[in-house]
């Protein structure tokens, strides 16, 4: 379970202030995957960072129960000078999982071949995405935070990663940001719409999508 209590966050970017969430209280129940909707710049990624813990709230508090992933994005978060394998070891250590198991799992999953031992800065974006996806699938999180990452790699890899991810979702939940409503319907049961600093929770993802689409039409 993740709960926000009277949470407020304002971000400043180049002098422009933007209220992301304003005095919001909301509970993300365990056992339901959540799609996060909102217009561009509404602060969906910021919200994921708050949930992950890389950003702090200005006011209010957040209660987290369960193991939460870092926000998974296209590029992954890797140190370019280290090899893919070394980066995986690093992640295994900071999350306290068995290093050798994770290294072996990612080696098999990401299918990087020789590149697994080359510095990450030599990777193509597809290879980085595969490595990132492999690492996150190798660790059992209760919540996966997913930022616009749905399908990476070629058709075969896509099929495999979707299958693995679906399997994960039998034990884990996902909080997903995506502009693709099809993907959201595919993975999520419930939805949250972020609009003008307010978050509204909907039990049904289709309802959330409908509200979001009518929001988009108004402007």
């Amino acid at each position: 379970m993740i709960r926000l209590e009277r949470a407020t966050k304002e971000v400043r970017m180049k002098g422009v202030r933007k209220m992301i969430i304003d005095d919001v209280s909301v509970t993300f129940p365990r056992g339901k995957s959540i799609g996060l909707l909102g217009r561009n710049g509404a602060g969906k990624s910021t919200l994921l960072q708050i949930i992950a813990g890389t950003l702090e709230l200005d006011r209010g508090r957040i209660i987290r129960q369960g193991k939460i992933s870092w926000p998974l994005g296209f590029q992954g978060s890797f140190q370019g000078n280290l090899s893919g394998e070394q980066n995986v070891r690093f992640v295994a250590r900071i999350y306290g999982v068995n290093t050798d198991e994770l290294v072996a799992y990612v080696a098999e999953f990401a299918e990087l071949g020789q590149f697994y031992h080359a510095p990450v800065r030599t990777y193509s974006s597809g290879m980085k995405a595969r490595l990132a996806f492999g690492v996150s699938m190798g660790i059992n999180f209760d919540y996966y935070l997913v930022d616009e990452i749905t399908a990476v790699g070629d058709t075969n890899f896509k099929r495999k990663s979707q299958q693995t991810f679906k399997e994960k979702l039998s034990n884990s939940d996902v909080i997903m940001v995506s502009h693709s409503t099809g993907t959201l319907r595919d993975y999520c049961q419930t939805g949250i719409v972020l609009e003008n600093g307010q978050m509204t929770y909907y039990d049904d993802i289709n309802e959330a999508i409908a509200v979001h689409e009518s929001n988009m039409k108004r402007h």
Binding site: T54, I68, S77, L82, R93, I94
Partner: protein, 241 residues
């Protein structure tokens, strides 16, 4: 949390560079000064004189340079919630201390064994100099991490202002042998004190007149204080960019 630390300091080019830099400086200085002077200001060995100066100085210089980029250089890793900005600083601090110490042992060890006269090494002043130098660097590193992000222009200014630091820290001369006015000015620089202190560990006959340990520690403590205050108060902003 701590085991992970050393990993992310991995330097491109490997450890060899850590040795090449001081060795080339020491050789360069030795050759030039041997050409213009007959004996070094202390002892009889030019390499030993410059090595004790340069390596003592490096405990500050290399550390400060490395810490300044600790957060920006590890930005990718900061997207993991369990890696805090202070971890990158702590990791680099530990790694750099170890690196410079190894370099010091190897380079100074080599020189000490090759000079004709036995050198008596006295550890306490050396360790005190290292501690003070690295703490000053840590305070400056913490403050700079924040200031570089908030005021990019300051980063350029900092580079310009600190460039002559090497010249005024008494690496290749003794502050004691300067005219009184110049000596007073030089001794405002805490690093000059640190280099003097470092040298006393290798030259028992060196009296280091003008050395003021209290001043050095005051500077180190106040820089640490400023660095920590700035770093803690701006902690949240360090991840953003």
């Amino acid at each position: 949390m701590r085991e992970m630390s050393t990993r992310f300091g991995a330097k491109p080019g490997g450890y060899l560079w850590a040795f090449l830099d001081p060795v080339s400086h020491i050789v360069f200085l030795s050759v030039i000064f041997m050409a213009i002077a007959h004996i070094p200001p202390l002892g009889t060995s030019f390499p030993l004189f410059f090595a004790t100066g340069y390596i003592g100085f490096q405990f500050y210089q290399a550390m400060a340079g490395y810490l300044n980029s600790a957060v920006s250089g590890n930005k990718a890793l900061l997207s993991y919630p369990s890696v805090a900005p202070i971890d990158t600083i702590a990791a680099r601090y530990a790694l750099q201390i170890v690196t410079t110490t190894i370099v010091a042992i190897v380079v100074l060890g080599y020189i000490v064994f090759t000079v004709r006269h036995p050198v008596s090494i006295h550890l306490p002043p050396i360790l005190e100099a290292i501690a003070a130098a690295s703490l000053i660097a840590l305070g400056i590193g913490l403050a700079n991490t924040v200031l570089f992000i908030m005021y990019p222009i300051y980063e350029k200014l900092y580079g310009i202002i600190t460039r002559p630091l090497f010249l005024v820290s008494g690496v290749f001369f003794l502050p004691d042998s300067l005219p009184p006015i110049a000596k007073d000015v030089i001794l405002f620089n805490p690093l000059a004190h640190i280099v003097m202190q470092f040298r006393t560990g290798f030259y028992p006959q060196y009296r280091a007149s003008g050395y003021d340990g209290f001043y050095v520690w005051c500077v180190a403590a106040s820089l640490m204080f400023v660095g920590l205050v700035l770093f803690t108060s701006c902690r949240a902003r360090l991840r953003d960019r």
